[in-house]
Symmetry: C2
Subunit: 145 residues, 2 copies
DNA sequence: TTAGCTGCAAAGCGTTTGCACATGT
DNA sequence: ACATGTGCAAACGCTTTGCAGCTAA
């Protein structure tokens, strides 16, 4: 946690960028929310306490978060980019309900392991991967139709 | 192949839609290219032989392909939607080279199986899934740096 | 002082939609 | 004849960019 803040600050100074009030505010709020925020989600949250903050600044700052490795980019096919703070924990994947949009995280080391093997079989050096399973959650199955 | 054309035609008539010259042309061209076409890719190919065809028609027709199950929607994070004809074969996933963009398809029934299990564990009724592994292909690894 | 940052508004880009005309049923 | 499809251009939603003024270094 404090770790990621440090990572960001180190990156900022290494790159000759500047530490600004806005960047600190956005960093703080971004790390507070551990779920899959769209840029708009974050912007709206920020506006409540800091009405002056601009949309463009949020976009630009999230880009930096992703560049310095404290945020991961997600895209669930709804046309909005989402960001998620990187965890020190293992990689996880997502189960997404097609009806209500609920997102559940899961981990499965067996799947991870098989992916590494598939990449190796094709001569690929694996950089990252993403697995998304779309379906209906228990609630939406029972909603009937 | 003739199968998917039939699927499309059946769907068209079932839904009270119309069989038009444009839809047949787009269907033909779409099925001819078995790779991951963006709407623009397809549009440009079509324009060569059929200059009169409109961008909107291509979008609308691909939507129908996806609705009737002869096309699958892909999104590799470059901001363009891609479509791929569904195969009668088993589901496959993708290995994508971050450097040159090469896309390799692979299948792994063990991974499929584990996904089904994960969904079940969380009470999800699985509808679809996608797995993308990003990395560097053999060539790009050797380009060195 | 000077590079870099901010907020705004405008532009960009892929995609969708409204409309008048055309076409399949 | 009438519902549906087409092509065009305009609208759309998300994201990026140009710019004049501002701020950290």
């Amino acid at each position: 946690m404090g770790d990621r803040k440090q990572t960001f600050r180190d990156y900022i100074s290494q790159q000759g960028l500047k530490s600004t009030r806005q960047r600190e505010i956005i960093l703080e709020e971004f790390l507070r929310c551990h779920s899959h925020l769209s840029t708009e989600d974050l912007y709206l949250k920020l506006r409540k306490k800091h009405p002056g903050i601009g949309y463009a600044t949020v976009y630009r700052t999230l880009k930096i978060f992703s560049d310095c490795g404290i945020a991961e980019v997600r895209n669930f096919g709804d046309g909005q980019t989402r960001y998620e703070p990187t965890t020190c924990e293992e990689h996880h994947d997502h189960l997404i309900c097609k009806d209500c949009g609920t997102i559940i995280e899961f981990k499965d080391p067996r799947i991870e392991q098989l992916q590494v093997q598939v990449a190796k079989d094709h001569g690929f050096a694996i950089v990252s991967h993403r697995l998304e399973i779309f379906g209906l959650c228990t609630k939406c199955q029972n909603k009937g139709h």
